[in-house]
């Protein structure tokens, strides 16, 4: 074996290298935030948040280009995510209740295993699936708010289900037994006692799913498609933020590029905000129950 000095030196090299890994990983995050704040911050204004997208303009400096905004697209994203949540939250929470309260070790575990697997499926595959389904049976509304929100809902359901399950599991058994001890049936105990005491955590899980869905672009390219007007009807294509970032970001138009950064900054602020709120709520919650 090497001498203690050499071994100690090795130890410090390892500490330094692993610490360097952390620093290297943080560089892209810092770069993304910096670029979005510098380039996106310059276009932010009330007008930007409310006006419709401008016509494309290829003057490189951007001087004299029409100035527009992303108002309708924010509305489109809200509409899609809202519709998707209306579908996904009830289904997800019920699945969570099933796996945590009724499923037992066999079926319940199998269901939560496959919800876990589903969270890893690529969103584009879900887009293709919804597209394929509708093109066969309802070709008229393949590109519509309906298909877009169904695709987003399929992405959200496993996330809602898993976080609901975890939050319900964190409720102590004594709470359930107290409810049963009062002689009320199990389902009412779950609805009136167990679920309310887990509600903040369940709601946070739904919020995390909203975060994930709100940033998705790939499935929307095949379902909600896009327009410049945002949400104009359930059976019409919907313009929303992420696909527009893709469209504007890969265009050569200088004002579109600037707007794409503005839209990115807004998405980042929303996502990081949701993520931080979720973190705070979940941590306090599980701590209150003496660790999950």
């Amino acid at each position: 074996m090497a001498s203690p000095t050499v071994r100690r030196a090795f130890n410090w090299v390892a500490v330094a290298l692993t610490c360097a890994c952390v620093v290297v990983i943080l560089i892209p995050l810092a770069s993304i935030l910096y670029t979005a704040i510098v380039l996106g911050g310059s276009v932010l204004s009330l007008h930007f948040l409310t006006a419709g997208p401008p016509a494309a303009c290829t003057i490189p400096s951007g001087v004299g280009c029409p100035v527009g905004g992303i108002g309708p697209l924010i509305g489109g994203t809200l509409a899609l995510v809202g519709l998707a949540s209306a579908l996904a939250v009830p289904i997800g929470v019920l699945t969570g209740i099933f796996t945590s309260e009724y499923g037992g070790r066999g079926l319940g575990r199998a269901v939560s295993f496959f919800t876990d697997v589903m969270t890893g499926l690529p969103s584009i595959v879900i887009g293709v699936f919804v597209y394929g389904l509708f093109v066969l049976y309802y070709p008229r509304i393949v590109f519509s708010a309906i298909t877009g929100s169904i695709a987003l809902a399929i992405i959200m359901i496993p996330i809602v289900a898993r976080t609901s399950e975890e939050s319900l599991r964190a409720v102590p058994h004594s709470v359930r037994e107290a409810a049963l001890g009062l002689g009320i049936p199990k389902y009412r105990g779950i609805l009136r006692v167990v679920l309310p005491s887990a509600l903040p955590a369940v709601a946070t899980g739904a919020l995390l799913a909203v975060m994930r869905a709100g940033g998705e672009a790939a499935p929307l390219l095949l379902t909600a498609f896009g327009n410049r007007l945002g949400f104009v009807g359930l059976d019409q294509p919907v313009g929303s933020l992420p696909p527009t970032i893709y469209e504007f970001g890969t265009s050569g138009a200088s004002n579109w590029l600037a707007d794409a950064w503005g839209a990115s900054l807004i998405l980042i602020i929303l996502m990081l905000g949701i993520s931080i709120v979720a973190r705070l709520v979940l941590r306090n919650r599980f701590r209150a129950f003496g660790g999950g």
């Binding site: 071994r7 100690r8 090795f10 130890n11 390892a14 500490v15 692993t18 360097a20 890994c21 952390v22 290297v24 990983i25 943080l26 892209p28 995050l29 770069s31 993304i32 670029t35 979005a36 380039l39 295993f113 876990d116 697997v117 890893g120 499926l121 690529p122 969103s123 584009i124 595959v125 293709v128 597209y131 394929g132 389904l133 093109v135 066969l136 975060m211 709100g214 940033g215 998705e216 672009a217 790939a218 390219l221 095949l222 498609f225 992420p242 696909p243 970032i245 893709y246 970001g249 890969t250 590029l257 950064w261 990115s264 998405l267 980042i268 996502m271 990081l272 949701i274 993520s275 660790g291």
Partner: protein, 278 residues
């Protein structure tokens, strides 16, 4: 999805997977270059990301002072909250010029003799650039699962090694990593699943050329980026169904990868929790 792909499934059979020509105009569809593109980008992404993620996780759970652990670990996981289209846009705006201006020319002059890194660099939008963006995107997944697996290693394991006179690093290497390797491996596979299916970020940085030249600094295409690029322009039943069939292939591959990953992670994280009575 099987029904959606029904016009192209029997028509091409296995030729779909091994054919190298993608020619919608003449109705010839082979996705071998895209399958290769998917595998190569994901592979390189893991090569870059795995050492970094595991290193960072080791630092945070074994070496860092307690007050640093959670905040920094959390900031790394914030990367997972950034939408993938923003990653792509960042890749296009920041990484592509960087690769085009300095990294690619340097690679070409140093390693241009090898077919792996030779040839025209596609203006910075190429397989390597897409791989780097993917590496950034899978890092929070791998490092989070690694951290969880390391946290599931019993304290005794570390103390036993330390009491035998091991340095902190030796204890980590011999006693902790060995114990946690199943979970870490699960995390890597989970990261692989994410990389295989990632669409927007790849589409925006890979250059979108339906060929695989063998060079990492040439433009290419992945299965998912091909779908994203051509779906809205696809005309004709056969063309659309060929794209749906790619989706089907991608679904089967990622389903398999995710099942393997979850089995590994569950065994460590859940199995440990049950045995510990927590």
């Amino acid at each position: 999805m099987f029904t959606g792909a029904s016009p192209s499934l029997p028509r091409f059979g296995l030729r779909f997977l091994f054919g190298v020509v993608w020619d919608p105009v003449h109705g010839i569809f082979g996705v071998a270059p895209e399958i290769l593109g998917t595998l190569v980008t994901s592979g390189i992404a893991l090569l870059i990301s795995v050492p970094l993620s595991i290193g960072a996780a080791i630092f945070l759970s074994e070496h860092a002072p307690a007050w640093l652990r959670d905040p920094v670990g959390y900031v790394i996981e914030l990367l997972a909250a950034v939408p993938s289209v923003v990653f792509g846009f960042w890749g296009l705006a920041v990484l592509v010029p960087l690769m085009q201006g300095s990294v690619d020319p340097w690679l070409q002059s140093a390693f241009g003799w090898s077919p792996l890194l030779g040839g025209p660099n596609g203006g910075g939008r190429n397989i390597l650039t897409a791989s780097v963006v993917l590496a950034v995107m899978v890092t929070p997944t791998i490092s989070a699962v690694t951290r969880e697996s390391l946290a599931a290693v019993p304290r005794d394991q570390r103390e036993a090694a330390l009491s035998l006179g091991a340095t902190r690093w030796e204890a980590t290497r011999l006693a902790v990593l060995r114990y946690a390797r199943t979970g870490i491996f699960g995390g890597i596979i989970l990261g692989l699943g994410r990389a295989l299916g990632e669409t927007m970020a790849v589409t925006m940085t890979i250059g979108n050329k339906n060929a695989f030249s063998g060079s990492l600094i040439s433009p290419g295409q992945t299965m998912s980026s091909l779908i994203a690029n051509e779906f809205t322009e696809a005309t004709g039943k056969l063309y659309v169904s060929a794209l749906v069939e790619i989706g089907l292939v991608l679904l089967l591959v990622t389903l398999l990868v995710n099942i393997v990953a979850r089995l590994l992670v569950w065994r460590v994280v859940r199995g440990g929790a049950v045995a510990g009575g927590a």
